[in-house]
Symmetry: C3
Subunit: 341 residues, 3 copies
Amino acid sequence: MTLGELARRLECPVEGDSGIEIHRVAKIETAGPGDLTFLANPKYAAALASTKASAVIAGADVEGAPCAVIRSASPYLTFARAAQALSPERPPEPGVHPLAWVSAEAVVDPTASIGPFAAIGAGVRIGARTIVHPHVAIGADSVIGADCLIHANVSIRERCTLGARVIVQNGAVIGSDGYGFAQRPDGSHEKIPQTAPVVIEDDVEIGANTTIDRPAVGETRIKAGTKIDNLVQIAHGVVLGRHVLLAAQVGIAGSTVIGDHVTFGGQVGVGGHLTIGDRVKAVGQSGITNSVAADGFVSGYPAIPNHEWRRSSAVFRKLPEMRRQLRDLTARLQKIEETDK
Amino acid sequence: MTLGELARRLECPVEGDSGIEIHRVAKIETAGPGDLTFLANPKYAAALASTKASAVIAGADVEGAPCAVIRSASPYLTFARAAQALSPERPPEPGVHPLAWVSAEAVVDPTASIGPFAAIGAGVRIGARTIVHPHVAIGADSVIGADCLIHANVSIRERCTLGARVIVQNGAVIGSDGYGFAQRPDGSHEKIPQTAPVVIEDDVEIGANTTIDRPAVGETRIKAGTKIDNLVQIAHGVVLGRHVLLAAQVGIAGSTVIGDHVTFGGQVGVGGHLTIGDRVKAVGQSGITNSVAADGFVSGYPAIPNHEWRRSSAVFRKLPEMRRQLRDLTARLQKIEETDK
Amino acid sequence: MTLGELARRLECPVEGDSGIEIHRVAKIETAGPGDLTFLANPKYAAALASTKASAVIAGADVEGAPCAVIRSASPYLTFARAAQALSPERPPEPGVHPLAWVSAEAVVDPTASIGPFAAIGAGVRIGARTIVHPHVAIGADSVIGADCLIHANVSIRERCTLGARVIVQNGAVIGSDGYGFAQRPDGSHEKIPQTAPVVIEDDVEIGANTTIDRPAVGETRIKAGTKIDNLVQIAHGVVLGRHVLLAAQVGIAGSTVIGDHVTFGGQVGVGGHLTIGDRVKAVGQSGITNSVAADGFVSGYPAIPNHEWRRSSAVFRKLPEMRRQLRDLTARLQKIEETDK
């Protein structure tokens, strides 16, 4: 694709030779001829002068590029769209692979693609242009919307619903039984059947080997536009709001309700039956044990407001010194008290 | 099912119209006609008056239900049993699906059900009424007991044993190689073959994408009635006692021995070669670096007794203030010392 | 195998009857006749006198063994090699199982073994003696070296490269899409296609259900000899050095570069865009938020030098006492100040 053609698609102006061919996107430090790079983070500004890229996506105020420039008010967003335009993915052929197993009672749109060894249960419906890769198991009566991409080795259990344009990375599990047991008098446990559905709304992405449990009653719901990274645990009855970002290895305990535009760093843990307001942020490894009001920014375990936690953490390193000071003060004070007697 | 019929099965008395039809269990706030709900947590008592459920399971002292009542001394346990009775699950047909691969040297009980694309190795034995879902791989010489439920995409490696009524959620791995390497003089590592078995006793449940490693010597053992949530790591040579509860994302390092009725919150980490006594509890995200005696209740990292940790954590937020106080005291004391000279 | 034959293979001298038969390796406490055990950790020295093993691997200075002895300067390393020699694993037959699906455009070495229901995409190359177990999905144009072992239910996505002798435990995912999104002005997110490869060098081992993401640009690389435990998250663009050891449930955020011989305990989290020097160690559950210079040893969250963290952690338990002391000192000082007036 020529740079000019790409820029037209991106609806951005070009400075320089718009006739050059662009083959792929690349990092600013390692890009070469035919590569398009971008400058979104000022940390990398110094690398611009020496980039070997054929073109760079940059903001209006960026100067000194040794190559063609695509000007954008949002260079990172424009880069995302450029990468999509240059993406080498070719969708597999539509149709059901002869080595797939599709129940006679399932309905697969003729434009969908079902890979070898996929297992599609009775009553399942699969929407237009959706791609189901090998070894995906879809349980009875689940409904998968249009334009979804379900990677290999994913399990989607019975009676779950996925909206349109949902992407599920490899090995993820949707609809596994929630962890629900009632204790018997002898200390053993009775299983509470977890039969209610998981609902995944449009434009959600679910990371590799992430697990999303179904509840006994009600539903587990992931609202539109939310993006979940790898190895995340979403327990039964959780509701995740719209456009939530959960980094890898986050765990959300049962029945917790998370607002819209919430952002959690990696390995954050959230207790059960809590309410997390819209736009709350938590840094990686935080342990949230209480509900957090909208716009909160928390850290630590138990999680407290980030600015408090930062101050206390800084003092944590001084604890041995503080202890010595306390001892010293006590001794000096005692001396004065004895003198004063 | 009528409420009367259900109550007879639960061996509980009914108050109200026992002829009404009950279709499913539901949450007290969202239940409607035909739904059975329950009141086990006093937090939800206020919701009772306005529930639209047709019936509620409640303790002897609960009053004011606007619907029929099933009386129970253990409402949550009775709810579990009611949910089982109302559960919509129909087991798949017995027999081996024509698209499964079963070694000629495997023995599958005729009442067991083996799904499409299951792969059952040589020497495997599968017990009565056990259900093996699609894409389950069972390695050579493993033995699966009766009435087990093995969900899609589970891996059970060679020479492992599962007792009766074991449930394995999707994507779980039983018998992967333990993490065992001996360092060579040049800093590289020699693999120690991990060939000893994993033994899972009766009535264990294993969560989605949980991993249970096999050791080089001895065995890894999960004792009867233990329930493990999703994404949990059980390292090689670990022994989990009876009726242990491990919440999601817990990790237990190698050769650690965990007693009976132990309960760990989510994301707890336990070091290797430790002994955790019966009935020990640890709150979520605790990091247990030393053995804990029976009945201990620990928190924090390194984990300490919970009541100590709670007190210290409360003071943690005051650290900046304490540091200011220390500076202030030092200055005031110095002034006195100078005056006294 | 006789003890003498085994010792010759291990290139170690024997003391005692070298004609006895050795069948397997075992723990020092539970070994019996026909078993070979080892003594590498002085903690187990007391168990030597009462072991029922037929032979023990021990250092030159170990005395009092009630059985034959294989002398070794590195007993644990010799044990690893003995366990390999005694390992009961028999490789599956070479060839492609009739129930596998291999693209006509893939090239599988005739000595490789492809199990039932493996799915091998177009352009894939698989090296000599490599074993691919059931339900493994290998995406288009990926290259797997010689002597690899890919366990059941593993996903290897398109255009990834594995070197020689790579072992991938069950359920691991190599090449899932990195977590990369650009925010649109309305707060929703545009996916940045993650199309660059993951490269796994020779002699790497990857644990069960571990996930290794592909980046948008550049590559994710795991260098030779590195061993990764279960449920580990390696984000897009990460570079892991040679002979790195990552315990279970570690998470490394995007674009971080980890040096050679680095060792992380379980559940460690590392932020993105950091540089971790050679031979850095971090204890379990550490949260590394800044780059660490070579040979650093860190703990805590935020991670600080281990010796500092240990001292501060010890004082943490004294915080309530310190707060009382502060109050007491303040009161006493006030009294003196009032008296002095």
